[in-house]
């Protein structure tokens, strides 16, 4: 695929917008992509790296991916400029069953670099806003600078059909910070969204998921109504290389989208 544009979201975090080079690849993607699926993005000579597709299923003209520069492949991708060629393999995995969310209220919770997969679902729903009930987004990062999709956060803030609750960790606020200060689970409990007829979509690092799940259960959410995504080291993405399983579950084939109930049934030591 060709890089159309890139955007620096936060220190070390980039978004790349990619366009297809061949029409048949684009058709395949349009026919198969649903929100929640992931791909392997790569550069020949360096390797491949796994990220979600951060763009929603309602906008399939291009692919957006957001990643933190942390290793060999991500460092090279981070330096890619408009016009450069990168590779994409996918879309793989399962998806968020958003048609089952229709008519319900939606609660999106994300932390730091985990906003991208959530953002894909958020836009997939906001692009069909009339199908869903109340939409609440609770998002936090370590510091103000670490918040990603800053321009879209502003957009969501402006909308009156979205309730955006933004927070940064204690100590991460800037002098002109207007929103909340506190860890996501704490702020979530304060916001106290109702569990009635609500689906929660929760993405974040394992430790945040653990505490947020506890907070959600305290608020009356059942683990069957909470959706999350799992990550693991991947190489093939298609169930062959034997690397990404948590217990008997292959993240690349049976995930990455799971309900919290399914995650709780997995051997926790293998996460």
């Amino acid at each position: 695929m060709r890089v159309v544009s890139k955007r620096e979201e936060a220190p070390g975090v980039r978004t790349l917008k990619l366009e297809f080079l061949k029409e048949e690849d684009h058709e395949f993607f349009k026919a198969n992509y649903r929100t929640g699926m992931f791909g392997l993005y790569g550069i020949f000579g360096e390797g491949e790296s796994t990220f979600c597709v951060a763009s929603p299923e309602t906008r399939k003209e291009y692919i957006e991916c957001t990643f933190r520069q942390s290793g060999r492949v991500t460092s090279t991708l981070a330096n890619a400029d408009a016009g450069d060629i990168v590779t994409f393999r996918g879309p793989y995995g399962n998806r968020f069953p958003i048609e089952e969310f229709e008519g319900k209220n939606l609660l999106f919770i994300a932390g730091g670099i985990a906003l991208p997969p959530t953002r894909s679902v958020i836009w997939s729903c906001l692009d069909q806003r009339e199908k869903f009930g109340k939409v609440t987004i609770v998002y936090g990062a370590r510091t103000v600078a670490d918040l990603v999709y800053k321009n879209e956060l502003d957009e969501w803030k402006q909308r009156d059909d979205v309730n955006l609750v933004l927070t940064v960790d204690p100590g991460g606020e800037t002098p002109d910070w207007q929103d909340h200060v506190g860890f996501v689970p704490t702020i979530l409990e304060q916001a106290a969204p109702s569990p009635d007829n609500t689906i929660a979509v929760l993405c974040g690092p394992p430790i945040m998921i653990k505490f947020t799940l506890t907070a959600l259960e305290k608020l009356g959410f059942s683990p069957g109504n909470v959706y999350t995504t799992l990550e693991n080291r991947m190489k093939c993405g298609v169930g062959k290389c034997g690397r990404c399983n948590v217990g008997s579950v292959y993240i690349c084939k049976e995930g990455p989208v799971f309900t919290a109930a399914e995650v709780q049934a997995m051997p926790q030591q293998d996460l």
């Binding site: 991500t74 990550e231 169930g239």
Partner: protein
């Protein structure tokens, strides 16, 4: 009709097979190692050994397999898929355990996405097994619901004759039938008494093991640490296993061209599940050992209805510190209920 192949006609068979386009591979001893390699005469074959040190898997799932060649130009990238050559191959003298490994791995390599590299080689190969008349202390085929004369994964099975003159030929598949029909003039019609197959005592109850493994409480048992204390985390057992199939993908080349390859990898290696963030879900040898056993006798079994183990015993036979699957499964099998 039953047929016999005499030892002293084997060279004629080889000649016939080679002239019909087969490369013939058999167990052979070269450079201080026994493995499957191309042979041109029966004299080169090492058929008297228990089993070759390396498995037949090496010829279907290569240690290092080129997948794609890429050439990076100004505004585009040329890629060329590097599929294996369409070369007919005949594997002669395969042990039933090694042959069953191929059939077991067919399940994984055909799961949803068909692995073209594996199946191209499988479809162009004929497997001729020889039933085992001897075994050693490490063999455990009977413990994993296989046997010294198992036909799983085989196209033609040869049963050694009691008088030692040759083998009884049993055709098992269509592919095997065309092979045998092709050498019908070299074979003798008739039957003869076959030698008794090796006696391989059952060492553990694999069904009991599977149900213990499937119990969620077993995942956190202290047994894992106890049985794996001496494991040093090398890849010997996984690489010599007829069914292990984990791999890594590596790009080798420079800025302008190179090859993307598939290389063997092992869940025993410390870096296998290491995330870039530094988090490693399996950062101790005991968790890695648990993954190995769980994968072979619980997860694979659950998905494909077959243990990911052919009972060859190479894991224990070759382990530098005398580990291997047998002992762990015996410990589990002997747990009080």
């Amino acid at each position: 009709m039953t047929r016999i192949l005499l030892h002293d006609r084997l060279d004629d068979c080889l000649a016939a097979w080679r002239s019909s386009g087969f490369r013939v591979l058999a167990p052979t001893r070269r450079d201080d190692l026994t493995r499957f390699d191309e042979v041109r005469s029966a004299a080169e074959m090492a058929l008297d050994i228990i089993m070759p040190e390396r498995t037949i898997k090496d010829h279907f799932f290569l240690q290092t397999e080129p997948m794609i060649r890429y050439r990076i130009k100004k505004q585009e990238i040329d890629t060329e898929e590097m599929l294996p050559p369409e070369q007919k191959r005949l594997f002669f003298g395969v042990r039933p355990c090694d042959a069953s490994g191929l059939a077991i791995d067919d399940q994984l390599f055909g799961w949803d996405y068909k692995d073209a590299y594996w199946f191209q080689r499988r479809e162009n190969s004929v497997i001729v097994t020889i039933a085992c008349t001897k075994a050693d202390d490490f063999c455990m085929c009977t413990s994993v619901q296989l046997s010294p004369d198992s036909t799983k994964g085989s196209d033609v099975m040869l049963h050694p004759l009691k008088d030692g003159r040759g083998w009884q030929v049993v055709t098992l598949t269509d592919r095997g039938k065309s092979l045998v029909d092709g050498i019908a003039s070299i074979l003798q019609e008739g039957t003869a008494e076959t030698a008794p197959t090796a006696s391989v005592p059952v060492k553990f109850d694999v069904d009991k093991v599977a149900s213990w493994l499937a119990d969620p409480a077993s995942f956190e048992s202290h047994l894992w640490k106890e049985v794996s204390q001496r494991c040093i985390g090398c890849g010997s057992c996984t690489f010599l296993c007829p069914t292990c199939h984990c791999f890594d993908i590596q790009d080798e080349g420079d800025t302008y061209s190179g090859i993307r390859r598939k290389n063997w990898d092992s869940c025993s290696f410390a870096m296998f599940t290491m995330h870039t963030s530094g988090h490693n879900p399996r950062n101790t040898q005991s968790t890695r050992w648990r993954q190995r056993i769980m994968h072979k006798f619980n997860y694979y079994r659950g998905k494909f209805d077959v243990n990911s183990c052919s009972g060859c015993g190479r894991c224990t036979r070759q382990c530098p510190v005398d580990m291997g699957i047998t002992e762990t499964l015996q410990v589990i099998s002997n747990l009080p209920r």
